[in-house]
């Protein structure tokens, strides 16, 4: 896990949902760049009208469609769902074999060669991002890489490149400044909150919206970085181990000594009795 404290230069997505037309260019670009299999269109129960219904082993990002009522009319809202590339990623902290790494550039990347397939990352991720190859005999996890291979070469991620209107990509500091500038310039247009600024300790994907975020299906999350929750307990491990071993050794020594003394005493008294008998 990285010990960095300054994340202001991390590559960050600013996704302005008021400028999103729902064209799904990002979804297609992602599929093409990562050469992912297509998914068959189907009807499904549950939320939204998007296709595919959820992110999966074949779909690393997708547009989520949701309808809502505005001034008595039905309206569509959409948002791009993807890995949030947390500043302090839960997946990286829980993975037993360090298969997830927060890169210095910002994206959280997954190393399929290390993964043992325990799926703890999927339980830990507050955004439900890591997906699993359920159809394979020896499955791995699949997740958005933030197009790390492109970013390393100075390119913009495929989805950000394809997006005609809504995605701005740059350093986290610049993106936060830009988001705040827009909030200030059009206070009536937005709900007055940047999602991702503090959620789960801060993420490298920031959202602006005209609808309340929970209405769109964004989760209300703690602002404390998730790894600190497990670390609060894990940091006691060495201490507990030393204390337990020490205490038990001491108790054993004590009880053994007591037993030995008792035995010696009884032997001594027996011995004197025998001597007395001999006399």
């Amino acid at each position: 896990m990285s010990e960095r404290t300054d994340f202001s230069m991390d590559r960050t997505f600013l996704i302005d949902l008021t400028r999103c037309t729902g064209c799904r260019g990002c979804q297609v670009a992602c599929k093409q760049w990562n050469q992912m299999e297509a998914e068959k269109t189907r009807f499904f129960k549950g939320e939204g009208y998007q296709n595919p219904p959820a992110m999966s082993e074949h779909t690393l990002t997708r547009m989520k469609f949701r309808d809502y009522e505005k001034h008595g009319h039905n309206e569509f809202a959409f948002y791009k769902e993807m890995c949030m590339h947390c500043i302090r990623p839960a997946c990286a902290s829980v993975c037993p074999v360090s298969a997830f790494v927060k890169t210095p550039e910002g994206p959280v990347v997954y190393n399929p060669k290390r993964c043992i397939g325990c799926r703890y990352c999927m339980v830990a991720c507050p955004f439900g991002v890591p997906k699993y190859q359920w159809s394979k005999a020896l499955p791995l996890v699949v997740k958005c890489t933030g197009c790390y291979s492109r970013v390393k070469e100075g390119l913009v991620p495929a989805c950000a490149k394809a997006c005609p209107s809504a995605i701005t990509y740059g350093s986290r500091k610049d993106m936060i400044d830009e988001a705040e500038r827009r909030l200030k310039q059009w206070p009536d247009k937005y709900v007055g909150k940047v999602y991702g600024l503090e959620e789960a300790g801060g993420t490298s994907v920031l959202y602006l919206s005209e609808l309340p975020f929970d209405e769109l299906g964004f989760k209300k999350l703690t602002t404390r970085p998730l790894p600190t929750f497990t670390w609060a307990a894990l940091r006691f491990v060495p201490g507990v181990f030393v204390f337990m071993s020490g205490a038990l050794t001491f108790i054993s020594w004590l009880t053994q000594r007591k037993e030995r003394l008792l035995k010696e005493r009884s032997r001594n008294s027996q011995g004197t009795q025998r001597e007395e008998g001999g006399l």
Binding site: M1, G46, A54, M55, S56, A90, S93, V94, C95, P96, V97, S98, A99, R114, C115, I116, G117, C118, R119, Y120, M122, V123, A124, P126, G128, Y132, Q133, W134, S135, K136, A137, L138, P139, L140, V141, K219, K220, L221, T222, R224, L226, P227, F229, T230, W231, A232, A233, L234, V237, V240, F241, M244, S245, L248, T249, I251, S252, T255, K258, E259
Partner: protein, 396 residues
Amino acid sequence: MITTRLILAEVKGYPRFIKLLMVPVSAGAIAVLLRFMFGLGAITNLDDLYPWGLWIAWDVVTSVPLAAGAFIIGAIVHCFRIKKLEPLVRPSIVTGFLGYFLVCVGLLIDLGQPQRAWHVFVYPNLHSPMLEVALCVMTYTGIVFLEFLSPVCEKFGLRIPLRLLRHVQMPLVVLGVAIPTLHQSGIGTFFLIAVDKLHNLWYNPILPLLFWTSAIFSGLSMVMIEAIMVHRHLRQPDETDLLAVLTRIISWFLAIYLALKVYALLFLSHGPLFDRPVLTALFLVEMGVGVVIPMVLFFRQRIRTDDRLQLWAATMVVVGLALNRFNVSMFGLIQRNQEIYYPSFLESLVTLGIISAEVILFFLVARYFPIFEHHTEAVEKCSSAFEQCEGGERAI
């Protein structure tokens, strides 16, 4: 040919329920085969919403505390020198070893890449609770295996290994308490990461401590159930007055657990507690059946001598514990309006097979190795124990 016939004849002599249990074991084995041929998605109901299902909730999160008897009995007898409980040591070690061995088997079936399990040694991430638990469970399985070797060596009259085992006994016992303390609580640490997922009734920062405390009383309850069952069905001596000692320990740990849980609910939990009726019901059953009622029973005088009451109370503790672990690792994680997961038929078969395998293996060990004999100076009495156990075998 003759050996095959001998083995068949021997198997024919087993009690009927053992023979019956071989059916789920073979069915489970076939299901495992299918899992490795067609993948987890084909035979389980797991999906991206429910990455962990029955196999984790039962085979790991519940089985580990139920196999905790070995480490507590070990500590009581060898460290605190309550020698009276000596006869319970070996059966609990056998249960511990079988339990942990099968936890490892269950985990390997559940892992996507079991052939890479060794990666935890090569690429350890010290911030991962999973690493802590994996390393501890593996080390501890090794430790209980070494402890389990004593009766095996006795059976075959191997004096030198026995003497060696006697030498490392105390370090093994000490490590055998310190390490389970870490992984019993570590399984609780797993769920600390699920901050906004696990319901407030179960999510609190002392979850690891609660897991450790509940492992103690439920591990001891398992030892109790086992001793009573073995007395009833395998014609072993009645241990009711030994178990009376356990009833006291269990009652106090239940009380400590209840106090910790109430404290956690009152002062350490955030957000609404009783907003979901189903979860509230699950919670009440868990606390009522698993903690409050058995605690009252265990504090009564009558339970010291009444083995039926002991069996009832201990069973309630175990059922409550299982419900608690399912609540934490499964039910409590289900969000509002989320589809409900239930294990598939094949998935359940694997778990059923693992449970049956445990019973069969315990029976086999009890039949062929001296685990119920009472002897402190194992090495000195090795040969006599050897005869004794042959006698015991015939008695079975």
